[in-house]
């Protein structure tokens, strides 16, 4: 059972991911901005994450890569915009396997009663670019009413 909600409306190249954590916002912000902490959670465990640069300030750049067990590397890089703060930050995001396809990611952190909601809003240049991200192994993705859709797919797929 997943707590992570993923929404990607049909026809608009957006993706929204939300999840609530049992932790104060400052700590969540640290986990997103301290490279020593970031490598401990971003991406599936099967990838070794290597952070080359992570300069969290307006105009600061970042680059990291995920390396799989076969030694394949998937690089990502971008630039931070605005003043990163515990309320969140804005960054560009480019998968090096698809140069020129740049997403704009906004991280929004809100704290209520010591719990923090992490919301990432990603804007892609096109729907094709959004979908291609997922095809390439990492990604961003999906639709309003997905619970209903999941239920539908659950019914349909075993029959097919």
């Amino acid at each position: 059972m997943s707590d992570t909600k993923v929404q990607a409306p049909a026809g608009i190249p957006f993706i929204d991911v939300t999840r609530e954590f049992e932790a104060p916002r400052d700590l969540v912000f640290r986990a997103f901005t301290d490279p020593d902490l970031l490598v401990q959670w971003l991406g599936p465990q099967k990838y070794e994450m290597v952070i080359e640069t992570y300069d969290v300030r307006a105009g600061g750049s970042w680059r990291y890569l995920h390396r799989d067990a076969d030694g394949n590397e998937y690089g990502f890089h971008g630039v931070f915009h605005g003043d990163p703060s515990p309320e969140g930050f804005v960054q560009t995001f480019e998968f090096e396997g698809a140069p020129g396809h740049v997403a704009l990611d906004q991280l929004i952190l809100t704290e209520v009663d010591g719990r923090t909601t992490v919301h990432t809003h990603s804007v892609y240049q096109s729907i094709e670019a959004r979908n291609a991200m997922v095809e390439n192994g990492m990604a961003e993705g999906m639709n309003e009413g997905f619970n209903r859709l999941d239920a539908l797919l659950g019914r349909l797929v075993p029959v097919a």
Partner: protein
């Protein structure tokens, strides 16, 4: 074999009538009249929905005598679920690890780092 147009698939699935039509077709091929029967909707309206489903590759249509049969195509639905599952899995696992990290940090603000499989470079 056409590659699945995921946006067309999700656009087609966004409508409850079209989802209901697909669910009906899991029981087997149907004519427009058979599909329209349980809906308070004219056959031309149902035909328009079938056209959208056909455009997304979710159904194919064939003729048998005078009737036009609609047939559910499984591949685009499977592609759409796999696409979603892959994306969801990536974030589920990341967030699960973040959850565990936040719990460790709150138990001890300066724990020895968990280096299983991840090393930052200087």
């Amino acid at each position: 074999m056409q590659p699945t147009n995921l946006d067309a698939v999700f656009g087609a699935l966004a409508d409850p009538t079209r989802r209901a039509i697909l669910a009906r077709l899991t029981a087997g091929d149907r004519t427009v009249a058979e599909i329209a029967a349980p809906f308070a909707m004219s056959q031309p309206a149902i035909s328009r929905h079938l056209k959208v489903l056909e455009g997304a590759g979710l159904i194919t249509r064939s003729r048998r005598a005078t009737a036009r049969l609609s047939h559910l195509e499984a591949a685009p639905l499977r592609d759409a679920t796999e696409w979603l599952a892959k994306y969801q899995a990536w974030w589920d696992e990341s967030h699960g690890r973040l959850d565990a990290l936040l719990a460790r940090l709150q138990a001890d603000p300066n724990p020895p780092p968990d280096r299983t499989g991840s090393q930052p470079t200087e």
